[in-house]
Amino acid sequence: MTERDHRDTVSAAQDGAGDHQVTAISRRTVLAGAAATAALSFGVDAMAETPPAAADANLDAFLNLSAALTGIAKKMLAPDTDSLGMGKGYFDFVDGKKLSDFATLLQVTKDANLQIPPPPGGIIAQPDVDRLAKAIADKGDAPKYLARSIMLMWYLGAWYEPSVLKALAKDPKAIVSYTVVSPKAYTQGWLWRVAQAHPMGYSDMQFGYWTRKPEEISDFIEFRIKGKGA
């Protein structure tokens, strides 16, 4: 097959071979592309001015805050061997927004001294979560809605500005704009796992799985050590 090259001079280079080269892509191809885009979209230099030890403490507080509020095990959000780097990526994304309320949120979380239960499970208990949520709310609307923005980022891979969430809470007809953080973030949304499913358009399952019940929800959101789990 060749592109037609007669009578007009438009874009011979643009219309080179390739009309026919659609192939079924592999999951790996998509992932590689998604990861590349995600790396570009996270602000990777946002931590430049913070000393390393403090930065680690802040990232750890961010993960504790995220785990407590989302109800998902911290080691599921940020596994020890974390090839996707969502936790660090999301931390840098929020930190890059330079919101003073973020420091407030992290400090409240550090002060809450959250207890992370050992595996199997690893999900922070409801009383601890409620205590943290109340401590955040006591600091005012700004940290309260920022905390919800962070929860939604984990759940949907999308950023809803705290001001948008505040406006929506006051007026359910308010316009809700948002930005998908990155293609990778969409594919790592936790809401789908909470529903014992997978992001639409991104599944690792095989033919016919939908005709059976899924694994228990604990398999999706709790942390198990391989071989020692429940």
Binding site: T2, D8, D19, V22, G71, L152, A195
Partner: protein, 645 residues
């Protein structure tokens, strides 16, 4: 290729165009395809990236021209679509411009939609959309139903009380072989025994792949309809009031096993807008097969603008505009050209084909447009008006676990024909595996699961699931979301629409696209017969939800331009419809030149070397999605052309 060598020029590379190109390629015909959109990219990575990043995930989201800016936003700060329909070279309608504030605004909507006709009768939105690359139907669902025999004889069977109905010039028995060939070509998974109802038979052979297994939602609904009180189903107007209604697997062009080099479906729950592993057939498959023949060429970014007819009433050439885009998709150049062949096939869908025919008025014999001696080009625009309903099973019921499997695996077909068709539109039911994903968008300007998640995280109640508007955290949040999301379901009714002469595609007098061509103008509304089909759908929904003990969350938006109020059993009920993406009827086939545009081979009555293909030739709509019938007719047309050229 020199022009005088070309056997066939095909305008459009969708289902019909690609299948015809591929069949004629095998017969060593020399073919040139003109495609208005971009060429098919080397792989679908860019499509997937655009889809994942898109803040609005509509059927058009993955494809080009992009609806989105670099942040994945479809609208600018002033609320204008990023893709300006007045500037885009080869535009297309999009679901993002169907909002109450946009659907009839030609500065925002590619389709120029009228709000009233010349008699001041209220018109309503045509809500179906299409894309450009490879015919733009890559975003189809994959359902591949045959019509039932009576669908081809609507005048003979029911025309006494419905004067709009006409018969097809072809019947089921004649088309059956071509249905079978189409099922082999596009790869349909299905079960012959399950699909043998209402006179459908399979003498040419079974489906090439076994059926795709059903979902937990399918089974829950099937169980609810196993035993019914005939007093409660009498309203359906069937021959006998049914005491049970079958939920059947839907035959689909989705692989249930590896087929023709493509994988088996892995249940990505994303058939619309895009299967990430191409387990679902789309026209690029046949297009690529065709382009692997050296006697087939394609010109992408090439918009046919004028069909020239000679004194002998044969088409002499097609003029086109070929355009160039920069890397941001902005139009940076265009040139005019023309192409000649022995035979011409227009395969540009039931809106763009009549637009092209009606734009082509320069010739001495085509003052009313090409192929239009009947005056019927552009008339009888049909869709399957789509009524959707959504609900939730009680917390005491087993979850049905949506967002898993193909988008749709089963449906109800048995209610698509019966004596009631003398009085109201028939319907077919599809059962979604994607919960409230898109249905909630009709009342909340967002989709699910986002709406449900935001409700419980931000303490609001747009879904109506969070009645005390409480914000939840931690285990209380995951538990609540899980219990709610895993019990959500939705159903949809594809309603038969009468072919009304007032539902038209014409050419706008004022609104142009980026190439300076006048855009399609639409007049559309539902007849009382069609609306009565939706009323029956509403009643059936109530029966089903009752049998499921489900809570009904179905709503109609206050500002929904498709809304109307109907009195049903003494109650005022808001009803509405959306589009099924099934654009049909605007160059109908028939036996007589005076009341149809093409014959059963989809050849123009007026011009012996011009074929108009696709669902625009359907004289009546049936309730099955049109794709398999488009494909069967296309294969039959290709066979005819091969013998004649």
């Amino acid at each position: 290729m020199a022009d005088d060598d070309i056997d066939v020029v095909i305008v459009g590379s969708g289902f019909a165009g690609s299948l015809i190109a591929n069949e004629l390629a095998k017969e060593h015909k020399k073919i040139v395809i003109l495609e208005a959109g971009d060429r098919v990219p080397p792989n679908i990575n860019d499509y997937m990236e655009r889809f994942y990043k898109a803040s609005i995930k509509v059927p058009e989201s993955p494809y080009t021209p992009s609806l989105f800016d670099e942040n994945g936003h479809a609208f600018d700060d002033k609320g204008h679509p990023v893709e300006d329909p007045g500037k885009v070279a080869a535009g297309r309608p999009s679901a993002i411009a169907l909002d109450a504030s946009m659907w009839s605004d030609g500065t925002k909507s590619y389709l120029v939609q009228k709000t009233e006709d010349k008699d001041k009768r209220k018109l309503t939105p045509f809500s179906s959309t299409y894309d450009r690359v490879a015919g733009g139907t890559a975003h189809w669902l994959g359902t591949s139903l045959r019509f039932v025999p009576k669908d081809f004889r609507m005048k003979s069977e029911y025309g006494g009380s419905v004067p709009e109905f006409v018969d097809w010039p072809i019947d089921y028995d004649e088309l059956e072989k071509w249905y079978h060939d189409a099922e082999i070509e596009i790869g349909v998974s299905g079960n012959v025994a399950d699909q043998s109802f209402h006179g459908i038979k399979f003498p040419s052979g079974p489906y090439p792949m076994p059926q795709i297994p059903n979902s937990l939602t399918d089974r829950a609904i099937g169980k609810a309809l196993e035993k019914l009180d005939p007093a409660e189903t009498a309203f359906l107007g069937m021959e006998q009031a049914p005491t049970s209604i079958a939920v059947r697997g839907l035959p689909a062009a989705r692989n249930s096993q590896p087929y023709k080099g493509r994988r088996a479906c892995a249940g990505n729950t994303n058939c619309i807008p895009i299967c990430p592993i191409q387990a679902k057939y789309d026209p690029t498959v046949s297009l690529n097969d065709a382009l692997n023949h050296k006697n087939v060429e394609m010109m992408s970014n090439t918009v046919a603008s004028d069909i020239i007819v000679g004194d002998d009433k044969l088409v002499k050439e097609i003029r086109y505009i070929r355009y160039r885009l920069d890397s941001n998709g902005k139009l940076v150049g265009k040139v005019n050209g023309s192409i000649k062949a022995k035979t011409y096939v227009i395969a540009a869908n039931a809106i763009e084909t009549p637009r092209l025919l009606l734009m082509s008025t320069k010739g001495p014999h085509t003052k009313n447009g090409v192929a239009n001696s009947s005056g019927m080009v552009g008339q009888h625009l049909m869709d399957h008006p789509y009524y959707v309903a959504w609900g939730q099973l009680p917390m005491t019921a087993d979850p049905v676990y949506p967002y898993r499997g193909p988008l749709i695996t089963s449906g109800i077909g048995d209610l698509c024909d019966g004596p009631f068709r003398a009085k109201r539109g028939a319907f077919r039911v599809d059962i979604g595996n994607e919960a409230w994903n898109f249905v909630i968008a009709s009342v909340v300007k967002s989709s699910d699961p986002n709406v449900t998640a935001i409700d419980f995280i931000n303490g609001v109640n747009r879904s109506r699931l969070n009645s005390d508007s409480k914000a939840l955290f931690g285990p209380a949040l995951t538990d609540t979301l899980n219990r709610n999301l895993t019990r959500q379901f939705r159903i949809g009714f594809l309603v038969e629409q009468t072919p009304d002469p007032g539902n038209t595609v014409t050419v706008s007098k004022t609104f142009r696209d980026g190439l300076g061509l006048l855009r399609p103008e639409i007049s559309y509304s539902l007849s009382p017969y069609t609306k009565a089909g939706i009323v029956a759908a509403y009643k059936f929904k109530n029966l089903l939800f009752k049998m499921l003990h489900a809570t009904d969350f179905t709503r109609v938006g206050d500002d929904d331009p498709s809304k109307w109020v109907e009195t049903i059993d003494g109650q005022q009920v808001d009803l509405n419809y959306t589009g099924a993406g099934h654009i049909m009827g605007t160059y109908r086939m028939g036996r007589a030149e005076k009341d149809s545009v093409v014959d059963s081979f989809q050849k123009s009555h007026d011009h012996d070397n011009l074929y108009l293909v696709g669902s625009g030739t359907f004289p009546t709509s049936a309730t099955a999605n049109p794709t398999l019938t488009i494909a069967a007719l296309a294969l039959r047309t290709a066979d005819r052309i091969a013998k004649r050229v």
